[in-house]
Symmetry: C2
Subunit: 110 residues, 2 copies
């Protein structure tokens, strides 16, 4: 029943991408942001499936924008993080921080 308390690994990455992209976050840009920043290749299907789940949990919301005047420029579905989503990010970060605090091994290997 009750959803999980912490963001899954990929959910976490995706929601951070939304925060970075602010008002220009939609499927394609989310994917680009992740690839550009981390070098990680992800399929577009993976992005949408994850966004869909985040939305089901109330961590993000979305609305369709107007079609842009370019070839194939159909309307985009823009996503943004909700307050509940921010809380989830912070909960996740807190846990990670408390587990890494004082662990110099980790940083030195970075």
């Amino acid at each position: 029943m009750s959803g999980r308390e912490y963001l899954g690994e990929f959910e976490h990455i995706v929601i951070l991408a939304l925060l970075r992209l602010a008002d220009r976050a939609y499927g394609v840009t989310v994917r680009q942001e992740i690839e550009a920043r981390t070098g990680r290749e992800v399929s577009i299907g993976a992005i949408y499936a994850t966004l869909e789940r985040l939305q089901a949990k109330g961590y993000v919301k979305s609305q369709f924008g107007d079609p842009t005047p370019e070839r194939g420029g159909r309307s985009k579905r823009f996503f943004h993080v909700t307050a509940k989503g921010i809380s989830a990010v912070n909960r996740t970060h807190r846990a990670l921080r408390s587990m890494t605090a004082g662990l110099d091994l980790v940083r030195s290997y970075s």
Copy 2:
């Protein structure tokens, strides 16, 4: 097929617990460390299943210690993180860091 590149959310927490506990890391202490640090309640079964998976990927190794002279003190299976495991932690951290870099929203809500 090919194992994943990044640590799953819980795998991450568990491996950090091992790093903290160093030579006294085994099922029970791992669980305690996580609960003590994060307040998160986890079943012992979840801990072992995860350790098993981490071991299958070569991120951790284990060996049984001698039974201790206490009631019910059967021998413990001690776990430690391998070099490969350290790399996985760092890869995961790097990705997270690159996605959070410059995002002050996050820290301010912590």
